[in-house]
C-alpha cells in the first residue's frame, strides 16, 4: 500500500527527529541545572520523579488492568530504606533521640547508587509478599486490599520507633536527587517500559488486562504475570519514593498517605490509562500545575475584594479535574496510544504551528 512505502521512507527521518529532540532536551536539562533558580530546578526535577511514579502505577493500572491504590506504601518503603542506608552515623544519632536506632543499622552508610537499588529491591520484595495473596482478588476488592496494605505499611512505619524513628520521621537526608540522577532514572524507566511493552512479556500483560480467560487459554500463566507486574511496579515505586525522599530531605509517615497515591492516579488518568508517553506528558503538566496553582491557597487580592488565603482550593481544583476527565474524557490525554511524530505533524497541518515538543 501507498502508506506503507511512505512510512518506510520516512522512518529514518522520524528517528532523526527523536534524536534531535532528545539532544535538545539533554542540552535543556544541562542549562536548567546551571541557570534555573533553586525552586524552579526543584520543580523540574520533581517532574522526573513523578514520571517514574506515574509509569510504575500505569504499569499496573494501565497495562495489567490491576487497580492498585497502595502505591504510597511502596514509596514509603523505598524512601525509608534508602534514607536509612545513606544517612551517616552522626546523623542517625541526631535523629533518634526518643529511642536509639537498632544496632545493625547504626553504622551502615552506603553510597547512593547501591542504596537506591536496594531500596527498589526491598520495595519490590514487599510487593511480591503482598501481591501473592492479594492478587487473587479482583477489581474493587483488589483496590481496597491494596489500599489497606498501603495503610498497614504506614502504621508499621509509624510504630517501629527503633527502626524508622516513628512519627518523628527522618531529617537531613543527603541531597542525592540531583538533576542528573533523577532524569537519568526517569530516562531509564521510560526506556524499560517501552522495551517491556514491546516484548512478548508486555503483550502478555495486555492480554491479561483485556481478557483473563482468553489469556489463560493462550497458555499465559495469569497469576504469575500479575505477581511479576505487581513486583516490578513496587520496585519502580520504591525507586521513585527514594528519589523523592532524597529530594525533600525530610520524610515522615504522614507524607505517604492516600493523598500521594491520589496525585499519581490523577497523573495516570489524565495522561491516559495505558499510555507511556501520556504518563510522561501528564506527569510534567500536573507537577508544574501543582506548583503553579499554589497561589490558589494563598491570599488573593482582586480589585474588588480580597480573600485571606483559601487553603484547600488547590485540591478542590485537582479533584474536580480528575472527575471531569473521568466523566467527560475517559481516555485522558492520549488514550492508550503512544506519542508519534505523525501525531504532531497532524497537529501542525490542522492547527498550524504550535511550539513545544516532548521526549
Amino acid at each position: 500500500m501507498k502508506q506503507n512505502t511512505e512510512s518506510k521512507k520516512a522512518l529514518p527521518k522520524r528517528k532523526q527527529y527523536t534524536i534531535i529532540a532528545l539532544a535538545a532536551f539533554i542540552v535543556f536539562a544541562f542549562l536548567a541545572n546551571m541557570f534555573f533558580d533553586a525552586f524552579t530546578l526543584r520543580v523540574f526535577n520533581l517532574c522526573a520523579i513523578y514520571i517514574v511514579l506515574a509509569l510504575s502505577l500505569n504499569l499496573l493500572n494501565g497495562f495489567t488492568g490491576l487497580f492498585s491504590l497502595g502505591h504510597a506504601g511502596f514509596m514509603a518503603v523505598g524512601a525509608y530504606v534508602s534514607a536509612l542506608l545513606t544517612m551517616s552515623t552522626q546523623l542517625k544519632d541526631m535523629n533518634y533521640f526518643l529511642e536509639p536506632i537498632v544496632p545493625w543499622l547504626h553504622h551502615v552508610t552506603l553510597p547512593f547508587l547501591p542504596a537506591i537499588i536496594i531500596a527498589g529491591l526491598v520495595s519490590g520484595f514487599v510487593g511480591f509478599l503482598i501481591g501473592s495473596p492479594v492478587l487473587r482478588l479482583r477489581d474493587d476488592y483488589l483496590a481496597i486490599a491494596t489500599l489497606g496494605f498501603g495503610e498497614i505499611i504506614r502504621v508499621l512505619i509509624t510504630n517501629a520507633q527503633s527502626i524508622t524513628n516513628g512519627a518523628q520521621g527522618l531529617k537531613g537526608l543527603p541531597r542525592y536527587s540531583t538533576t542528573f540522577a533523577v532524569w537519568v532514572t526517569a530516562g531509564l524507566v521510560v526506556l524499560f517500559m517501552v522495551l517491556l511493552m514491546r516484548s512478548s512479556y508486555g503483550r502478555a500483560l495486555k492480554a491479561v488486562r483485556d481478557d483473563e480467560l482468553a489469556a489463560e487459554a493462550m497458555g499465559i500463566n495469569v497469576f504469575k504475570v500479575k505477581v511479576t507486574s505487581f513486583t516490578m511496579s513496587s520496585f519502580l515505586a520504591g525507586i521513585g519514593g527514594a528519589l523523592l525522599g532524597h529530594m525533600i530531605t525530610t520524610i515522615d509517615p504522614k507524607m505517604f498517605t492516600f493523598m500521594l497515591t491520589f496525585n499519581i492516579l490523577l497523573i495516570v488518568v489524565l495522561g491516559g490509562i495505558g499510555s507511556i508517553s501520556g504518563s510522561v506528558i501528564s506527569a510534567i503538566v500536573v507537577t508544574i500545575l501543582m506548583e503553579v496553582l499554589r497561589f490558589l491557597d494563598e491570599p488573593m487580592n482582586f480589585i474588588i475584594f480580597k480573600t485571606d488565603g483559601l487553603p484547600g482550593l488547590r485540591m478542590v481544583v485537582f479533584s474536580l479535574l480528575l472527575m471531569i476527565i473521568i466523566i467527560y474524557r475517559q481516555r485522558g490525554l492520549m488514550g492508550s496510544k503512544e506519542f508519534s511524530w505523525d501525531m504532531l505533524t497532524g497537529l501542525f497541518v490542522k492547527r498550524g504551528h504550535k511550539g513545544g515538543d516532548h521526549v
Binding site: N61, F67, L69, P133, V134, R136, L137, D139, D140, Y141, A143, I144, A145, L147, G148, F149, E151, I152, V155, L156, T158, N159, F258, M259, F262, L265, V269, I273, L310, P311, G312, L313, R314, M315, V316, F318, S319, L320, L322, M323, I326, I327, Q330
Partner: protein, 297 residues
C-alpha cells in the same frame, strides 16, 4: 480487670459498633445495587455532622431540629452526588466509576477544608445527651446508651422497607439484575436515587451521633471511619444489611477490646481493620453472611 470495667468497655463497644453499622449499611446498599464502592460515603458522614453543627451554632436550632435538617439535607446531597458523579458512568468500566468516587471523596474533603476550615471544631453536646447515668457501679454517658437504641430502631424500619414495601421489592429486583428489573417496569434511576438517599441519611445520622460522642469535627474525620465501615460491610458480606450490622458491631468490639486488653498494641489500632479485611477476603470472600441467597438490597 473488674467486672464493672468490662461492662464499661462493652457499652463503649456497642455504641461504637452501632455507629459503624449505621455507616456500613450505606456502603452495603449502594454496593448491592450498583457494585460500586462509594468512596465518598465517609465524607457524606462528615458533611452530616458539620451541617448539624452549623445548625446548632449559627442558626441556633435545638439539637433535634438541627439533626432533622441535617439528615434531610445530606440525603438530598447524596442523591445529587449520584446524579453528578456516578450516573454518567453507570455503563462505563467499573474502574472509571471507582476513580470518579475517589475524586468525589477528595473533592468533598478539600471542599470541607475550604468551607469549614481545617481547624477542628468543638461540638456543643446537648445536656440531655451528655448526662452521666449510673447502673450500680457502671456509669455511662446518655449518648452511649441512645446510639444503640437509635440504631436498632432504624434497622427495624429499614428491614421493613426492604422486605415489605413495594419500593423495597424494587430495590431487591434492581440488585439482582438491573436489566431484568428495568424490563419489569422498575424505574431504576428512581430506585438508585432512593438508595443513595437512605444511605446518606444513615451516614448523616451516624455522623451527628458520632460528633455527640466524640465532640470534635474536622474535614477529614470521615476518612478512617469510612474505610473501616466499608471493611465492616465486606466482612459481614457486602450487599447484605444484616451482614453490615454484624460487621459493624464486630469492628467496634475488636477495636475497643484490643485497646482495652492489649494497650501496647493500640498504636496499630487502624491496621487491625485492614488485616481483618485481608484475612476475610482471602478465606471467605463473600463475607460472613454473604451467601448466594443472602438478602441483597
Amino acid at each position: 480487670m473488674t467486672l464493672s470495667l468490662l461492662f464499661q468497655h462493652i457499652v463503649n463497644a456497642l455504641s461504637l459498633g452501632s455507629l459503624y453499622a449505621l455507616i456500613a449499611i450505606g456502603y452495603t446498599m449502594v454496593y448491592g445495587i450498583l457494585r460500586l464502592i462509594n468512596f465518598a460515603h465517609g465524607d457524606v458522614f462528615m458533611l452530616g455532622a458539620y451541617v448539624a453543627f452549623y445548625g446548632m451554632t449559627i442558626v441556633a436550632l435545638p439539637w433535634w431540629a438541627a439533626l432533622l435538617v441535617s439528615i434531610v439535607f445530606t440525603a438530598l446531597f447524596g442523591i445529587g452526588l449520584e446524579r453528578a458523579a456516578y450516573r454518567p458512568l453507570r455503563d462505563s468500566p467499573r474502574i472509571s466509576i471507582m476513580i470518579s468516587a475517589i475524586g468525589a471523596s477528595f473533592l468533598l474533603e478539600s471542599l470541607g477544608v475550604l468551607i469549614f476550615g481545617g481547624r477542628p471544631k468543638g461540638v456543643p453536646v446537648p445536656d440531655v445527651l451528655s448526662r452521666v447515668i449510673h447502673f450500680g457501679s457502671v456509669s455511662m454517658i446518655m449518648i452511649s446508651l441512645i446510639i444503640p437504641l437509635f440504631t436498632f430502631a432504624l434497622l427495624g424500619v429499614l428491614v421493613w422497607i426492604v422486605n415489605k414495601t413495594k419500593t423495597g421489592m424494587a430495590m431487591r429486583a434492581v440488585s439482582t439484575d438491573i436489566e431484568a428489573a428495568r424490563l419489569m417496569a422498575v424505574n431504576v434511576n428512581k430506585i438508585v436515587s432512593f438508595t443513595f438517599g437512605i444511605g446518606s441519611l444513615l451516614a448523616a445520622l451516624g455522623g451527628i451521633l458520632w460528633s455527640f460522642k466524640y465532640p470534635q469535627l474536622n474535614p477529614l474525620m470521615g476518612m478512617m471511619p469510612g474505610l473501616k465501615c466499608f471493611i465492616a460491610a465486606v466482612i459481614g458480606g457486602i450487599g447484605s444489611i444484616g451482614g453490615a450490622v454484624l460487621g459493624g458491631f464486630l469492628m467496634g468490639f475488636i477495636e475497643i477490646m484490643t485497646v482495652a486488653f492489649l494497650p501496647t498494641l493500640s498504636g496499630y489500632r487502624d491496621a487491625f481493620a485492614f488485616i481483618l479485611l485481608i484475612v476475610v477476603l482471602l478465606v471467605k470472600p463473600t463475607g460472613l453472611l454473604g451467601k448466594r441467597q443472602a438478602e441483597k438490597v
